[in-house]
Symmetry: C2
Subunit: 307 residues, 2 copies
């Protein structure tokens, strides 16, 4: 029964955990050392201090994440809005400790229909949103529990868990359809108010955004089509806040597969983003990658805005 056999270093650098043609190789560390998240820029270049802190985390199972102390970090970070992805947890099963998270009384949960334990997102907020919507208005994708949108007075916060293209890219086509539909959804929001999109977008945009770009050219999360989807997002007037502020930062990843001890060697991918409407750039103070925080195969990220 060598199904669970240890091939060890086979797809250690594979991002969406795909079927990349990663050749077997030794457990070497990433040439780029882990990004060191600098002390926060507390204000905009014009000197306006941040007033909104939004964190995002793919928790890979809300209940397991809670057992591993994830809620602890939330209390230390004390965000005004918290976006969670891959909760794998129906709203009714959200543990009381999460419901009672100090400072985040307004909670919204969206999970996959008829698929317990799959996907799911949550949005927790200090102040009550003006409105909250579930999904992107596309029946093909909205059964999955992937998008939550909270309207606040000055902006929309969108929490998203973009579908994985799957091993062997078996679900690349639906993924690309999601990308297109999601972009239209974001454009419509952006026409009304500026948008802050946070979440696991399941793509590394450029070579600098993953440890082994060459080996993963055909891996889910780094196919040309997925990367193009992200480029189209940028072309539509949205900005990758982290890359905008730190254009040359290397080794800045937010995901490391559990396989083969990838995280210890920083064999990672940047899949989690805080993306802002261009006209929100003047309000952007900082975009943080909390890559030392344990609790999931993703780390949390945090955006600071003066809105």
């Amino acid at each position: 029964m060598p199904k669970r056999g240890k091939k060890k270093e086979e797809e250690e650098e594979s991002g969406g955990d795909g079927t990349g043609p990663s050749p077997a190789k030794a457990a070497r560390a990433c040439p780029a050392p882990p990004y060191e998240d600098p002390p926060p820029r507390e204000a905009t270049p014009e000197g306006r201090r941040w007033t909104l802190k939004v964190s995002s985390w793919n928790v890979d199972g809300l209940r397991a994440w809670l057992r591993k102390g994830g809620a602890q970090w939330v209390q230390e970070e004390a965000p005004d809005v918290l976006c969670l992805q891959e909760t794998k947890c129906a709203a009714a099963a959200v543990p009381a400790e999460v419901r009672a998270l100090p400072g985040l009384p307004h909670q919204f949960w969206c999970s996959a229909k008829d698929r317990p334990g799959y996907s799911g997102v949550g949005l927790l907020a200090r102040s009550e949103p003006l409105d909250v919507t579930y999904g992107i208005g596309d029946p093909e994708h909205d059964a999955d529990g992937r998008v939550l949108t909270a309207e606040f007075p000055s902006l929309f916060v969108v929490c998203a868990y973009v579908p994985n293209a799957g091993r062997g890219l078996v679900r690349l086509e639906p993924r690309l359809r999601f990308d297109a539909a999601f972009l239209q959804f974001l454009r419509r929001l952006d026409a009304r108010k500026p948008v802050l999109l946070c979440g696991d977008l399941n793509v590394a945009h450029a070579d600098i955004d993953l440890c082994h770009p060459r080996a993963n050219r055909a891996s889910p999360g780094f196919t040309p089509q997925e990367r193009d989807g992200f480029s189209r997002l940028l072309a539509a007037g949205f900005v990758d806040s982290f890359r905008h502020l730190y254009p040359a930062a290397r080794g800045a990843f937010t995901f490391w597969t559990y396989l083969g001890g990838a995280r210890a060697r920083n064999v990672g991918w940047r899949l989690d983003y805080a993306v802002v409407s261009q006209r929100l750039l003047g309000a952007l103070c900082d975009s943080k990658i909390r890559n030392t925080v344990p609790g999931s195969d993703h780390c949390p990220i945090t955006a600071l805005l003066a809105v």
Copy 2:
């Protein structure tokens, strides 16, 4: 999603983990304190010292049992034959540490066909058996991986994992058919050589053999039909070695459900037996219940014979 909700003390005293009508009640300890396994009787009443030590253990998953240190105890006990039940493990997946168990080089594994992770038995021996047979020669049951028989010069050792009647007794009928077919199988063996039957027979024979007999009159493992099956075994010339030697021993259990912390309160069942052909009684030195040994929801038992 209160599927995993804590009903706590609902079927804590249910044996085969059935659907007994056990009323909800406080987590009280069993009135009978845990049986204290006395120092071994090293010889028969006639003074012949034991020459054969046979242990039996329902391991509830061979690999989990190994992780919990089960093999450690085997080395301390150093049996000549070891019978394992509920290995939940195909022969090819038996870990190397088990294959290398000192003193038990002759190993035989029988697992369920087309049902990975279900049932399964193993028989390990110091000396090579003259013959080993798989199953009982009944196609209805032999796909399950429940019986291994090893022929030695002076006796047959049968390792058995009798089918559970299932929650709500949904599989009581096949269980009773197994009992009947198995008894015929044992009679045929017994006609050739004396038999030592070891294993999880999935029945508590009498009130004294479980903590809460009244509450479990309709539970799998204590229905009148299953108890009658055991009585028929005895009527056919077989002897329950433990009860023969310790007719009044109370609180002597070999199984405690994981639910509700039953083991800590000794809310248990005696489901594991060393049964001998009557003419082997003169060779019986002792029948041990190792009820302090961890590693499974069952504890191991050991028979000592002068053969």
